[in-house]
């Protein structure tokens, strides 16, 4: 019994980072066991058939941040990796007009010129300046943060590398980086652009997942984080994986299994087993024990350190830092099954605006007011919605002629003042549906079914604390070498043999895979010592 339960590595959680980590370790020859509490892999990246023929991306709904190294190193194409191109970005306006940006820069210029001639080259400058910032920060984003709190000479080399990189940058790039990293996205775009719809479109992308409005400092950094993604090397482009992000995590599971990892479903971990301050294995909620000298948690920092590990075995200042680590989920999803195609009056029978994101945020002020509600413990009267009719990208998502539409909704705080989500859920979804219907007047008639996923449900089903989609908020003091705690941004923990590989570590959230990959590198390095 004990022998069959002995592994080199146990990974807690089969979300995309847990699977990535397991695949890398298995590929490196480790005997890996992945333990997943749910009956399917994927964590927050799952696809479910809630109505015959209709596939819902319950939580996570698009792909961009996934590091290209992972696709190559894990040979994911062989296991079915298939990111479908999201061609357009459509933003309806209150006056019936719209902004429709697509794959061709020259055509986009014409579209921008309809709204502001000055913004045509304003947008070029914005894109150029921000792409230089991305280029500058990418080496930091794509490496394990140096431990600036350490006295180890090996860490000192890394710190020297960091200082050298910062010192080598162009003055303007440094300044633009700081402006973005510390300022509000609104202030930043105001320096380049004048058209409200163009500004609102950029600003909305800066508010995804965080409890901040476009006028709040900090949104610049979130914009930059999300802009670090790409599709086929095109910065800032998004794709829709065949079968949704659930389709993507199935690819990862196939890869991990092919490399020799074992995935065990319906196996919720109760706690970490330790001896002399070292990890020895885990115990499931049903009492089953699994032994391994290395345990990797892909859960968020709160659950990794305050629930799975025993906080009494951790330094008290570290525990305090983790207790202070903020989550504050504000995101919801409302997913619709539709009987046909939503029509935008100004575009008649056209559908080329439906081949990517639909962005319901007509002005910057609209976004800011949507955020105001969240500050005071309530959800937006007029929500910001980032939607996508996914069956236009992948016909297998819905029966022929029918469609599925994913609506990501902001702002819906985890804690409601004086009420609960159980009471407010349908009312919130009504507001979402009314907002979509305001711009697409045939929408109400098309709705066959809707699924409403509020922060409490995200927390309950995926384990993400307070339903925070990034496994911990994006604040400067919770990023880079502070993620999740000073001195522990290298995927190690105060317990020998216990590692972390979730989105609560550097670089952070989204379907990105980097935490899982970096953690595997650290583990392999430590095991060879």
């Amino acid at each position: 019994m004990a022998d069959s339960h002995a592994y080199d590595v146990i990974v807690i959680g089969a979300g995309h980072n847990g699977l990535t980590n397991a695949a890398y370790l298995a590929k490196a020859g480790q005997r890996v066991l992945v333990l997943e509490q749910n009956s399917l892999v994927g964590g927050a990246a799952i696809t479910e058939e809630l109505r015959p023929g209709f596939q819902f991306t319950t939580f996570s709904y698009a792909l961009s941040l996934l590091r290209p190294e992972i696709i190559a190193e894990l040979d994911l194409v062989r296991y079915g990796f298939n990111p479908l191109y999201m061609r357009s970005h459509f933003a309806p306006m209150d006056n019936g007009d719209y902004l429709l940006l697509g794959p061709d820069d020259a055509v986009n210029r014409q579209e921008i010129a309809r709204h502001s001639k000055a913004d045509v080259d304003g947008m070029e400058r914005f894109q150029h300046d921000t792409s230089r910032v991305r280029q500058f920060l990418r080496p930091l984003f794509d490496s394990i943060p140096p431990n600036v709190f350490s006295k180890d000479p090996q860490d000192a080399d890394q710190v020297a590398w960091l200082l050298n990189h910062l010192g080598g940058a162009d003055t303007k790039v440094i300044h633009d980086s700081v402006r973005l990293l510390t300022g509000s996205i609104k202030d930043f775009v105001d320096d380049y652009l004048e058209s409200e719809i163009i500004k609102a479109t950029i600003c909305s992308a800066a508010c995804v997942g965080i409890k901040l409005g476009p006028m709040s400092p900090g949104t610049g950094m979130n914009w930059l984080y999300l802009a670090m993604g790409e599709h086929d090397g095109h910065s800032g482009s998004w794709s829709f994986h065949k079968g949704g992000n659930g389709g993507f995590t199935q690819v990862l599971a196939r890869a991990a299994t092919a490399y020799g990892a074992e995935i065990r479903l319906n196996s919720a971990v109760s706690h970490l087993l330790t001896k002399h301050g070292e990890a020895r294995g885990v115990v499931l909620r049903d009492g089953t024990e699994f032994r391994a000298p290395v345990v990797v948690s892909s859960l968020d920092p709160r659950r990794t350190f305050l629930q799975i590990a025993d906080p009494r075995e951790l330094p008290s200042d570290f525990v305090e830092t983790i207790e202070r680590f903020r989550f504050q989920g504000v995101s919801s999803k409302v997913n619709f099954a539709l009987d046909g195609i939503p029509r935008y009056p100004a575009l008649g029978d056209r559908t080329d605006h439906l081949l990517g994101f639909l962005n319901f945020a007509p002005t910057v002020e609209y976004m800011e007011r949507a955020y105001d509600a969240a500050k005071y413990g309530w959800y937006s009267e007029h929500p910001y919605i980032d939607a996508c009719i996914q069956s236009f990208m992948d016909p297998d998502m819905a029966p022929p002629g029918k469609h599925v539409m994913s609506c990501y909704v902001m702002y819906t705080p985890h804690e409601l003042k004086g009420s609960t989500w159980a009471e407010q859920r349908e009312n919130m979804a009504d507001r979402v549906q009314a907002t979509v219907n305001r711009f697409f007047p045939n929408f109400d008639d098309l709705v066959l079914q809707r699924e409403v996923v509020t922060p409490d449900i995200i927390e309950e089903r995926t384990g993400l604390s307070e339903g925070n989609i990034y496994a911990g908020e994006f604040f400067p003091h919770q990023m880079y070498f502070f993620r999740p705690a000073p001195g522990y941004s290298d995927y190690r923990t105060p317990i020998e043999g216990y590692y972390q590989c979730g989105s609560g570590t550097h670089p952070g959230g989204c379907v990105i895979g980097a935490p899982g990959r970096f953690a595997s590198q650290q583990i392999i390095k430590d095991t060879r010592r």
């Binding site: 061709d104 020259a106 055509v107 210029r109 010129a113 304003g122």
Partner: protein
């Protein structure tokens, strides 16, 4: 959605090749005939017309217009009299070229600028400290180039006014009932004219020109033929010879006017009364001799090109369509000395020609060089030499 220019309904009927490209979001013919070489010969021997409507067009108007333009543009506009046009470049304050274009002085306090890239935001941001209006007139006008030895005969039949027009001269005249602005300018290196026509009268004017051109074998030409004639004329193209410094990622993609062979535009740079953007950096470049490149012509004699292929078992089939990438250049001793930004077989010159950037000490006309070619899937060098620019410059261009 792709847009179409005001001429499109007629151009669509004329485009037998159904070959369209995308220029600034507008459908723009790559060629009308199955042979762009045929169109090239029309321009060189008779006349051709090319739709330039996607060019960005701006009015710069107001009491400060001259002061503004002499600050923004590297070439002195103060010398430009109303009724004249000027080829221009504008730089950033490091002396790197942002863009080139043509500026027309329509009145003492009014200029009209055409440029390939959008500049409205840039110009308005600079205009704040001046009493000046910047108006984007791109969609108000269609524009048409009529180029080639017969161009004067064709337009003369419609408006005798143009007979008097000197090289880079400008006149307001009428074709039929339509007020048009005609300048003796172009991108072909030959005798030629450009017309700026109110968008709503564009088709009417085009039809009149086509009718007047019929006895002169006037034909439409597309981007491929345009590229051929402009390389022979030694004229730089944005995106080929240079990138706008504003959008370049490294200094390797940035160039000064001197490096682009446009130093002649900077006449009077020593004049302290005109502190245009980039002047100090350019003066510094000249004082320290820090130019990294010189722009030159390169040519390969037909025999050398033929022999290179023949000695490798191939028949040399020169292609007049310019290659879409840079062609590497080496010294006679095999050292890398630069690259051709545009390279093609010139039916007029009967040999391969190119516009190139080389290190200054290899810029002397006649310098023997090696030009890299792909032969049998190998990079092989062929002997060539440095030439002056342009390759094509008939007397009638300015006569």
């Amino acid at each position: 959605m792709m847009r179409t220019t005001p001429f499109h309904p007629r151009l669509e009927q004329l485009n037998h090749a159904h070959a369209w490209g995308n220029w600034s979001g507008y459908l723009s013919a790559l060629k009308y005939d199955l042979s762009s070489k045929h169109e090239y010969f029309s321009v060189r021997n008779a006349a051709g017309f090319f739709d330039t409507s996607p060019l960005h067009k701006y009015w710069l108007r107001g009491p400060d217009a001259e002061r503004f333009c002499s600050h923004v543009f590297a070439r002195d506009v103060r010398a430009l009299r109303p009724g004249r046009a000027q080829y221009q470049v504008w730089c950033d304050d490091a002396g790197f070229v942002l863009e080139d274009g043509v500026i027309f002085r329509t009145a003492a306090d009014e200029f009209f600028l055409t440029a390939a890239e959008p500049n409205y935001g840039y110009l308005t941001s600079l205009a704040r400290r001046y009493e000046l209006d910047v108006v984007d007139a791109t969609e108000d006008f269609a524009s048409l180039a009529v180029q080639g030895p017969r161009s004067r005969d064709i337009l003369r039949a419609l408006t005798p006014d143009i007979d008097e027009l000197r090289y880079f001269g400008l006149t307001h005249t009428k074709i039929g009932d339509t007020e048009v602005m005609v300048s003796r300018t172009g991108f072909s290196g030959d005798l030629g004219y450009e017309l700026v026509i109110p968008a709503d009268a564009a088709l009417e004017v085009l039809d009149a020109i086509i009718a007047a051109g019929e006895p002169h074998l006037l034909r439409p030409y597309g981007e491929e033929a345009l590229n051929m004639v402009r390389i022979e004329a030694g004229l730089p193209l944005l995106g080929k010879e240079f990138t706008s410094s504003r959008y370049a990622y490294t200094d390797a993609h940035r160039f000064t006017p001197d490096e682009l062979g446009l130093g002649w535009l900077l006449k009077g740079i020593d004049d302290e009364s005109r502190p245009f953007i980039g002047r100090e950096a350019i003066l510094r470049e000249r004082a320290t001799g820090s130019s990294r490149w010189r722009t030159v012509g390169v040519a390969i004699e037909w025999r050398d090109y033929y022999d290179l292929f023949a000695s490798n078992g191939l028949l040399a089939v020169p292609d007049e369509i310019p290659v879409g990438w840079e062609t590497m250049l080496y010294s006679a001793k095999g050292k890398r000395i630069g690259y051709a930004t545009s390279f093609m077989y010139s039916p007029y010159a009967q040999r391969h020609i190119g516009i190139a950037r080389v290190r200054p000490k290899f810029a002397e006309i006649g310098t023997e060089i090696q030009v890299e070619q792909t032969v049998n899937h190998e990079y092989l060098n062929v002997r060539g030499h440095v030439t002056g620019l342009p390759f094509f410059n008939p007397e009638r261009k300015v006569a």
